[in-house]
Amino acid sequence: MGLILSEDQLILRDMAKSFCDDKSPIDRMRRLRDTQDETGFSRELWKEMGELGWTGILFPEALGGADMGYGELGVVLAECGRVLAPEPFLSTVLLGGNAILLGGNEPLQKELLPDVCNGDRILCLAFQERGRFAPHAIETSATRDGDSFRIRGEKQFVLDGHMADQIVVVARTAGSTGERDGLTLLVVDAEANGVSIQRTEMIDGRNAARITFDDVAIDAARVLGEIDGGAEILDPVFDRATIGLCAEMVGCFEEAFERTLEYLKTREQFGVKIGTFQGLRHRAAQMFGELEFARSVVRDAQSSIDDGRNDVAACASGAKARCSDVANLIGGEAIQMHGGIGMTDEEEIGLFFKRLKAAEFTLGDAIYHRNRYDSLRGY
């Protein structure tokens, strides 16, 4: 895969763009937020995305998917990012869906993934237990009890956890918190006894939940991958999800930057357009540079998966380190350059700023990912 979009991908982009502009203008996201909509996204729209084949892009045809790659999914995610569409790609496809796909448990794949592909099933991945991303810092326990496990613990920031039909839970079956070994992934029904889900309101209007597992019994047949070896699945799932999230962020960067650029060209102060001030021109040029670099590394990261390269982890961390920094730069400058109006809830630029901050902290910030990149490189 090259660093530019193929003919087919360009067509897909145009389709996704007109779909998003048409069906998901930004005031839709605002309305969902302001009305405290129970779902938090649109079931109908998600279903339509399923019919278009987008929710199944990553999954094999045998499971109802399109068997395409991250290059294609990235095109769709970038367009969703441009309009801040809150549909559950990250939770259902990139995290939960990928865990089941990579988990290799065939009965579970057949049971759950076809409905992901057609847009009927919502999944989530419950991993996070503290504010800063630390993938192996898991205290939630799963204790063997005959043919089943009993899960006890509490998760936070479970994306779309309030709407999920199934929860992929990362639990500790051995070892102690922070250790990579001893993790196990289990698929739990949201309706199961002992699961309590509390929706949390986030700054970006997206949907996350705190989920408590109070002695939840789960059949051992619903384990993904090896018992105690869950990190073997979890780490590549995080890499893939991170690369997907970065594509959404790039769409967000593009839109926030274009809006800010337009503002510089139209807003007048001191009798001139503010874009004539060198202090702002140089900063706009910096934003452009960061955006271009982010595009390049994210596209390369997508290729690393689609081409079966062996540097996916380094590409994922490299891309997220950069995108997290760029989120701060472009998000922050977008507000600053809009001035007072940028501080109002009415002006949409603030919605981008908040989404970008949430995306920055989701799946690890720049410091985390540079650290991980160093570790991968042996520094």
Binding site: G2, L3, I4, L5, L261, L264, K265, K273, G275, T276, Q278, R281, H282, A284, A285, Q286, F288, G289, E292, F293, R295, S296, V297, R299, D300, G318, A321, R322, I367, R370, N371, Y373, D374, S375, R377, Y379
Partner: protein
């Protein structure tokens, strides 16, 4: 023309004979002079100092792919690459703008590496704002008489000729009164004063003109139309840099990672200083992102997609990257990096400190960082001024 593979084979067997063994060390200073001159002659005989120029001007007449294949074969055996201001900057400009007579006179000596050229662009009062240059050229009969001063002229003390921007009409807007002219350095009225830089080097000079003479027929492009020629030549300049990987030359074999590991030390198998460790990752990721971005721009251009001109962005980020690599190296060695000369300091460390100083110029020459940002804002982002 031979297929690329056949051609590579031909180059390999030719190099085997033509390249003296003691030269197979890459581009280094102080190569053995006699061997070097044999190598230059051998290359020149085939037109391979300027492989893509037409044969009638001493070039090799190779197309892009064959010329690239030649270069990669030469680099593969670490042959010294013979280049100059003449080959990389003036030559391509003359091929585009020169008269037939100018091409006949000036290109063959360049392609034989016989005549050294220098570039008379910057002046004390015309750096970033190059077009405000004041060096005057007044026509007297069939000659221009030149008065003024240039600065930052690389290799002026060794140059035979200069390609120079001069003001031929002071009464029109600044861009419209400039001409691009060629004249010899060895004449009365030309005085060269080398400049010592903060890194101790003296490759640059100031050049003073007091009644220097240039033949009127040696104006390249139209009289008063030199700005267009000058800008085109700068594009050749930019296309020759930006491609390199970073501040460390071949002589500095130790990589930044090795240096940092050695100086900072490891704790539990990882670098002991988490802040420097973060910068190391950022540095490597920046280099990679720059490489990918230049490659993506190339792919866009080839696919005919609406690629933005990212030349200025590339230069800007390249300069910052090169500087920050040296900054990290300095941080890692601390006060050992402050040594200037004499006992107590290893030669490689002294070289590194010099390189740190030298690279301060990378964000200044070829358009300062600030100029590059101006260009992006104006020409890429189209923000009205």
């Amino acid at each position: 023309m031979a297929s690329i593979e056949e051609f590579k084979q031909e180059v390999r067997s030719w190099v085997e004979e033509a390249l003296p063994a003691e030269l197979r060390v890459g581009n280094r200073k102080n190569l053995p002079r006699e061997a070097l001159s044999l190598w230059v002659d051998a290359l020149a005989a085939r037109g391979w100092i300027t492989p893509s120029w037409p044969t009638e001007y001493g070039g090799g007449g190779l197309d892009r792919k064959h010329a690239a294949a030649l270069m990669s074969e030469l680099k593969a055996v670490r042959a010294p690459i013979i280049g100059s201001f003449g080959t990389s900057m003036l030559g391509p400009t003359l091929l585009e703008f020169g008269t037939e007579e100018q091409k006949q006179e000036f290109l063959p000596p360049i392609s034989r590496h016989e005549v050294k050229w220098c570039q008379g662009y910057s002046e004390p009062g015309a750096g970033s704002d190059l077009a405000s240059l004041q060096t005057r050229a007044v026509l007297e009969g069939d000659e221009y008489v030149i008065t003024g001063q240039k600065i930052w002229t690389t290799g002026a003390d060794k140059a035979d000729w200069i390609f120079c921007l001069v003001r031929t009409d002071p009464d029109v807007p600044k861009h419209d009164g400039i001409s691009f002219i060629l004249f010899p350095m060895h004449q009365d009225g030309v005085e060269v004063a080398p400049l010592t830089l903060i890194d101790g080097s003296a490759d640059f000079s100031q050049v003073f003109f007091d009644g220097a003479r240039a033949k009127a027929k040696n104006v390249v492009g139209p009289v008063n139309g030199g700005w267009t020629v000058a800008k085109r030549l700068l594009q050749h300049e930019r296309s020759t840099d930006g491609g390199s990987e970073g501040g460390l030359s071949g002589a500095q074999k130790e990589t930044l990672v090795q240096l940092v590991k050695r100086e900072v030390g490891l704790e539990n198998g990882v670098l002991a200083d988490p802040a420097i460790r973060q910068r190391l990752a950022a540095q490597e990721l920046e280099a990679k992102a720059l490489r990918l971005t230049m490659r993506r721009a190339g792919e866009e251009a080839r696919a005919g997609q609406t690629g933005r001109d990212i030349g200025s962005l590339g230069k800007y980020r390249w300069a910052n990257m090169v500087k920050s690599e040296q900054d990290i190296a300095m941080l890692a060695v601390g006060t050992q990096g402050l040594g200037w000369d004499g006992p107590g300091f290893e030669g490689t460390q002294l070289d590194r400190t010099r390189a740190w100083l030298t690279t301060r110029a990378d964000s200044i020459w070829g358009g300062t960082n600030e100029v590059q940002l101006n260009v992006i804002a104006k020409r890429v982002l189209l923000i009205p001024e």
